[in-house]
Symmetry: C2
Subunit: 379 residues, 2 copies
């Protein structure tokens, strides 16, 4: 399939690379330092960032939530305008990074209602403030792409937007900045990265052998390195490999020129919106269920994946290996683990898709009815 | 290893994508259309490009040689200055693309002697004209990196430079633009891409399992698709896969964070400079000879490569598979195929390295003496 691929983000990878910010953030103007719950104040990252930003004028906003809230972002946009911020530095995980992208776009948005940025998936974004990132949680790939997911707390909506204007100018990936993360975050990050690859890979066969092999490279690396970095959080090499894998999982290279699914994410977002389970938890529940529903279309690819990544034969073995891998990381694969009633979830969530009239997946056939059938089996 | 990675080039991939130039080249100013021997006038590419550039002012220069000459490039720089060119569109293979990068940098060069750009490997390049490319020969990867190799005919020198300022703004990769290429060019392109991966992969083990697997993905794809696209030049999918593989082979992703060799290229450049054999021909002769010389350091990696790409065990089997692969493409692996006396070549070329006092390779131990020992065995 024809494609365009562009990814201008400069990656600054390795121990001590936070200092490189100093030569990349413009010296003139005001920097917004954006972060989340404040963990960066306990792991040394905050001090390194503040030192690297000297002598620039810096204003701070801490308190971006997991699944960043639209309402919070709008508050930050007010701050940005009041303080005449000219560069945003997002320090944190995917939530902080996604928030920074929305804030950068909303600040320059000329439309009536900034929610339209999300309603149009970013089509109407014509400009954005420049932003850079320091990643402290490998998972979403937001550090090297132009997408952002924002939640509206008041309406339980979770929508995304994409725009070439919100690629980070640079992203610092220092594996040591992730050493102090709780195990649960690493578990989530591994699953998130794994499913990101799958959304771009696990479709119908598409005559793209190089893309297939690149995706399988990331999957296999996550399988090898995931359990190691979970068990030995302060060992540099496995953590570095995991961090780089999570970035490549969603820097848009793997999805170039091939059909993409993203059905697991669409359904998963609703599980998070309705029940508050973590993003990665929702993905681990939905993915293989969606595969089973789409078995006819995906069969050849599931078999190839099983053969090349797990050295198994057949679709059942490939699915079992995948679920066992998730479980080995301590990640449940069924709704019952969260005391969520599958019938109820299927009803609520399919109703929302029916209301929107949307259908998705690589064949555009995951509609409200399909969502119902997929979810009710995930008890 | 710590690294920075940045590659802002927009890839426009697929049949018919030449029309996309129209929305990407600035409308104001003058475009230099740069090409080589004129084959683009026989395969329809020239007409497509001229149509896409309308209504801009365009000046043309045709006649960039294979292994583009410094002397020719300087003539084009004069033309560029006289015509006040503001954008360079390079249409052709690696030679035309490399020439366009040098011309773009030399036009803006403030130093006394533009040869200094090559003598300093690009360190003193502070600006360049913007450039775009339409690739008609998949091989060098120049379409998606910031490097360029230029030959000085009067002194038999072949040097490279790298600068972030000469990344193409965009590169069009239309597989159909390569359908009419002679088989020899495709053979050369496959080998060139294969060796590019090897220069970034075949070193000592370096605790970078994802980089290893990504490189192996490209190698394996070239092994699978190379013979197919050579035999069936007008079949779209294999040609498209080969074209994309050659780009990824040298867009600097595979070499990020790992030691790199480039010894095969350094020695190969001299074989081309002295004896006029094609770039890819020189690489196919030198590579496995260099592996044998560096066997102690490279053993583990050669074994891994043999196991994963060829499903063989041991270094000898891996080397044999590699040479057999080259031969199956019609590519010789010894100097005798070109009636070059190995002793003489070893003497001449090692003398040049002795004169420069240079040593290279991932361990910096490929000096004049090593070059002599490697080359004399390649009878």
């Amino acid at each position: 399939m024809n494609f365009t691929f562009r990814n201008p983000t400069e990656i600054l990878f390795g121990k001590g690379m936070i200092t490189e910010i100093g030569s990349r953030v413009p010296r003139a103007g005001t920097v917004l330092l954006l972060y989340g719950g404040g963990s960066i104040k306990h792991n040394g990252v905050y001090e390194q960032v503040r030192a690297a930003l000297k002598p620039r004028r810096v204003v701070e906003f801490g308190g971006i939530e997991p699944n960043p809230h639209y309402e919070t972002c709008l508050k930050v946009v007010e701050l940005v305008k009041k303080e005449k911020v000219s560069f945003i530095l997002a320090v944190g995980g995917g939530s902080v990074l996604d928030a920074s992208k929305f804030i950068a776009a909303a600040t320059c948005f000329r439309g009536r209602d900034p929610w339209d940025i999300l309603r149009t998936s970013g089509e109407n974004v014509k400009a954005a403030l420049p932003l850079g990132t320091v990643l402290t949680l490998p998972a979403t790939g937001s550090e090297a792409n132009s997408s952002s997911v924002i939640s509206r707390a008041t309406t339980n909506e979770k929508l995304f937007f994409t725009s070439g204007h919100v690629f980070p100018v640079f992203s610092v990936l220092d594996p040591t900045a992730t050493f102090s993360l709780p195990k649960k975050y690493i578990r989530n990050g591994i699953v998130d990265a794994f499913v990101h690859v799958m959304e771009q890979y696990m479709t119908r066969p598409s005559d793209a052998p190089l893309q297939d092999r690149l995706s399988e490279s990331v999957l296999q690396t996550l399988v090898e390195v995931g359990p190691v970095t979970l068990a030995r959080p302060r060992q540099y090499e496995p953590r570095a490999t995991f961090m780089w894998s999570a970035t490549l999982a969603l820097n848009t290279l793997l999805g170039s020129g091939v059909p993409q699914d993203w059905g697991t994410h669409m359904i998963g977002h609703e599980l998070t919106a309705f029940y508050g389970i973590d993003h990665a938890e929702s993905l681990a529940v939905v993915m293989t269920g969606l595969w089973r529903y789409k078995m006819k279309a995906k069969r050849a690819k599931i078999e190839q994946y099983g053969r090349r990544v797990w050295n198994t034969r057949g679709t059942e073995a490939a699915i079992k290996k995948t679920e066992d891998f998730f479980k080995s990381l301590g990640m449940p694969t069924r709704l019952s683990a969260y005391n969520i009633d599958a019938e109820e979830a299927a009803g609520k969530i399919s109703a929302r898709f029916a209301e929107r009239g949307s259908a998705f997946g690589e064949d555009g056939d995951i509609n409200a009815d399909a969502v119902f059938k997929i979810l009710r089996k995930l008890k």
